[in-house]
Amino acid sequence: MTLENIKSEVEAKVPGCALEIVANPSPSGQHSLRIDPAHAVAIAAFMRDAEHLRFDYCSNVTGIDWPGKEISEKVKVKKLVDGVEQEVEEVRKSQTVGHLEVVYHLYSMEKKHGPVILRMRTEDRAEKVHLPSLTSVWQSADFQEREIFDLYGVVFDGHPDLRRILMWDGFKDHPMRKDYVEPDDYEYEPTAHDEVLERARQHRTVMGAQ
């Protein structure tokens, strides 16, 4: 039962869904299946219930942050330089829209096979961070999706109880994002070096440190 088989089967059973196999170049060979958020619940339910798949056990739910990358390309532009039109090389920078990704690792306790890895992407990292929750299919996704909401800021639509889970209520940012800047107001231990000390020193006089 290969990933291709699963893909074609799911495509046959869930009309209109878009699946894509994401190859994994590492020696682990754990390839994954990117599913579209619109049909995610139907796909998940099918994979759980189908007689020969029976992925009844969702082991791991993970978020990954893929921030937008700065892509710089060299373009030749015609420009007026000192009154003469010249072809000048110019670096044009563009920003790709990053996305947040959620990864589900599925196993089957009944058939004892797996893992099949499902991935979903949000459209961007700021506003369109909504994904369907699969908690209705696997209850094990409950806390893990809450954690992803907490640490990455992915909003799971249809989650029964989407609250912060590890950070306290009222915490503003999402600390696992790559661009998260830690506040420098936490209680410090004056280590002998590093910038933490420097920042801490600006806050108050440090006792005992050099």
Binding site: T191, A192, G208, A209
Partner: protein, 203 residues
């Protein structure tokens, strides 16, 4: 029958109660300050810097290569490199640390600094009675506090130290042979300054 299991349990505790007076093996408590367990050789607590010979400043094996500082998971090591050089444990002229601090309140005794050190300069100490009345400066150990003799190392980790010593002796012999060869090749050259040796990259 009701109570059978309870009676069984009572018999078991009675056995242990009496047994604790009879067999010393049952009483696992060690009355700590008076009694002590034999030190286990592999035991590790916080790192120390090994020096050879009598003078701790001259004999320090550390060449301030910054590897341990970089690899330390909680980043508790702080090193400042000297500008001049002194011969290291194998006899090559090397830089030495002017400042070598370990913040043991941050250190988690993971031994990774020991593993990555190519010069066998940092090892794990076994001293665990480290209470201090100042949690900042008292737990920030400087070079002087950290430097401990090779004899101390032999005392706490004999097998390991023997292996390290054999390795160092072999390397020292190699360096000496090289220096001898170099000296023979250039007999005319003034022997006042030792020839510059590229920084050790082996191992």
């Amino acid at each position: 029958m009701f109570g059978e299991g309870i009676l069984k349990g009572l018999a078991e505790t009675a056995r242990n109660f009496l047994g604790s007076y009879v067999s010393k093996k049952r009483l696992t408590t060690v009355q700590y300050p008076e009694e002590r367990l034999p030190q286990i050789e592999a035991y590790r607590n916080f790192p120390f810097l090994v020096y050879d010979g009598e003078d701790w400043q001259q004999g320090l094996r550390c060449v301030s290569c910054f590897i341990c500082e970089k690899e330390c998971p909680p980043k508790c090591i702080f090193i400042e490199k000297s500008t001049d050089k002194k011969p290291d444990a194998v006899g090559k002229p090397q830089f030495y640390p002017t400042v070598f601090n370990i913040d043991v309140s941050v250190c988690m005794s993971c031994q990774i600094c020991v593993e990555v050190c190519p010069f066998d300069a940092i090892k794990m100490d076994t001293d665990f009675e480290l209470s201090t009345d100042n949690r900042f400066s008292g737990l920030l150990w400087d070079k002087k506090h950290l430097a401990k003799s090779n004899e101390h190392y032999h005392k706490i980790h004999p097998t390991e130290a023997a292996v390290v010593d054999a390795q160092l002796a072999a390397e020292r012999a190699k360096v000496a042979a090289k220096a001898k060869a170099a000296a023979e090749a250039k007999p005319a050259a003034a022997p006042a300054t030792p020839p510059p040796v590229p920084a050790a990259t082996e191992k």
